[in-house]
Symmetry: C2
């Protein structure tokens, strides 16, 4: 394996910790002797050993002389005392002479510190190996560092021709069981699931994680200017209503419909309006500040998803494409709400990777522009 492949292997390792490390980033590390991986580690949970230390301990326990090995680490090693001693010290003490770093630390208090300190201590440091992939790995951490809001996943699932339901609104199921299982895993990682009004009224979703019917379920958020009627028979009103939140405008939040929902145990939260509609940034900020939600997941529909993207708030897009064609221009489109005249006005995203999941294709995308504050 070459340098790039080794770093991507460290990224894969790091991803095992996703959802368990916040507010720390996910990090993966390898100790390599010649062509052989002799130690590996990743940051498993907040407060536990950092990836570099895990990898060093792994190689040392097998009896390797680290002065002859290279360290590959997805993120610049920390140079300060947090919950654990600085990784730079562990690296120096290990005898390692050669350190390969994926991404620099986006944390302004740290950036530059670790790499420069190691170099000044006589270690050969190379940075920027698979930098974009390593940056994408900690996109969540970057948002937490630079903003006060939750990190937002946007999940969409469509046919090859961009439809999520037939003209009769029939949608079960677009994607295969394996893709839906992957979405359930994502739901079990996030603190809140967000849907738009059309999805709520049309699909009457449960938004639960399969196999976890009673514990550790995410908050459910409905973004709507129209609150449900009295006597409505929606799952989200009947099951755990105290974990259901309506995001709506100020006037609607003061209506009698809002009072009825509150009496049922639901929450109704007023958001300010901006040029894009409701201020979704305000909602995500309240989620993190008041509810300690580090990850939120929007599952559509197409108009709400597009609002998150256009507001610069969709930090990571998971798009599942089923290899099927509906072929109806009146089918429900995966995205709508814009009216561009020219193709170059389309919103461009950056593909991180794509993978076959069951019969479908899963594409992970990131915004091209800077994240919103």
């Amino acid at each position: 394996m070459n340098q790039s492949e080794l770093m991507l292997k460290a990224v894969s390792l790091a991803e095992k910790g996703k959802g368990k490390t916040f507010p720390n980033p996910c990090v993966g590390a390898l100790i390599v002797a010649g062509d052989e991986i002799v130690g590996q580690g990743y940051h498993k949970a907040y407060g536990s050993d950092h990836a570099e230390v895990e990898a060093i301990n792994d190689a040392v326990s097998k009896g390797y002389d680290l002065s002859l090995c290279n360290l590959f680490v997805t993120l610049e090693p920390c140079n300060h005392h947090g919950k654990t001693p600085p990784c730079t010290r562990a690296i120096l003490e290990s005898g390692l002479k050669n350190v390969m770093i994926g991404a620099r630390d986006p944390n302004k208090h740290v950036a530059g510190g670790g790499a420069e300190f190691l170099q000044q201590s006589g270690i050969r440091v190379t940075t920027g190996i698979e930098e974009q992939k390593c940056m994408d790995l900690i996109a969540d951490f970057t948002v937490w560092q630079q903003t006060s809001r939750s990190y937002l996943y946007l999940k969409m699932a469509s046919t090859l021709d961009g439809r999520i339901a037939t003209r009769e609104k029939h949608s079960r199921w677009v994607t295969s069981d394996a893709s839906r299982k992957k979405v359930h895993q994502l739901r079990s990682m996030v603190g809140a699931v967000i849907v738009g009004a059309n999805t709520f009224y049309r699909d009457n979703p449960k938004l639960t994680c399969r196999g976890l019917e009673n514990e550790n379920q995410p908050l459910r958020i409905i973004v709507t200017s129209r609150l449900p009627e009295p006597g409505s028979d929606f799952f989200l009103l009947k099951q755990r209503p105290d974990e259901t939140i309506f995001w709506t405008d100020l006037k609607t939040s003061a209506s009698s419909a809002a009072d009825r929902l509150k009496n049922m145990g639901c929450h109704v939260m007023a958001l300010d309006k901006n040029q894009n509609g409701l201020d979704l940034n305000q909602g995500l900020t309240r989620l993190r500040q008041d509810r300690n939600v580090h990850y939120a997941l929007c599952e559509g529909g197409g108009k709400l998803g597009l609002s998150f993207i256009e507001s610069g708030l969709a930090d990571e897009v998971w798009h599942f494409i089923a290899m099927k064609i509906l072929g109806d221009d009146q089918g429900v489109p995966v995205f709508y709400g814009r009216e561009p005249k020219f193709m170059h006005e389309a919103i461009s995203l950056r593909m991180n990777c794509s993978r076959v999941i069951g019969d479908d294709l899963w594409i992970k995308l990131f915004p091209k522009k800077d994240i919103a504050p």
Copy 2:
């Protein structure tokens, strides 16, 4: 590399011959000693050595003892005299003791012959390694064997949300330069390019292969019930009109508009009608019988593409997806013309592979159902 990886490597080799072997199939072969590939070959052109013979000669020229090697070949070796002596004889004479075969020969005169003959001669034969990928590799050959028509590629290119143009019909460009280059390569391989009326009238396409402005250009076919007006200023009428063919219904083909086109040098061909509209199978059959076109390429639009798929005539679909969102439900959809009520009525395709091309994703798909006669 394991057996499966070795066979896929042979498939990749075989693909280098695509477009040059007809009416023979593409075939790739490897000679493997232990873990090492010591010989390789593919069928380069009709009349030249078969892949097995190329690979054997390659390994022998390097001095390997083939009795200690394995042969991996994507298609069952032929057992009859065609333009070249049978490959089974070359295998026996080489001393090979172990043959791994991807797909059985779909040619009824051959199928079973090669593998059984080798087994009866004392060689260990394993069949069905990566069989689907090896069958897909020769999907063209299967169509030529079982029908009298051209093999049809359908190429579509859309945004992530399934649009090919804005509501103002602006479409240049959906995909990146690398994808368009790949389409030009495909055009240079096929004998005819087919478009629907909307694409012809809206885009005024040239349908040429870049870098090949004057030689070896494909025939251009427009499928339409409405012929262009006198004095129309379309590229396909002005440039090489004798290579432009209109497929239309019987009545239109006898109109004065048809006469004008013929006077300009264009061809107008009447096709029968069936329940799906024009009998496209008849068109493809005439192309192969009268024009010796082995490969045809439909480049849309969405209605014609869907007609080919629904008629079972789209033998291989190349779908390019640009990582951009138009987000307009009035944008031009990549497919239209159906009105299914339920999601399970969508047309399912089978993904063969997907690959990153420039900024886009290229997905190669095959129909799930049997090919049309």
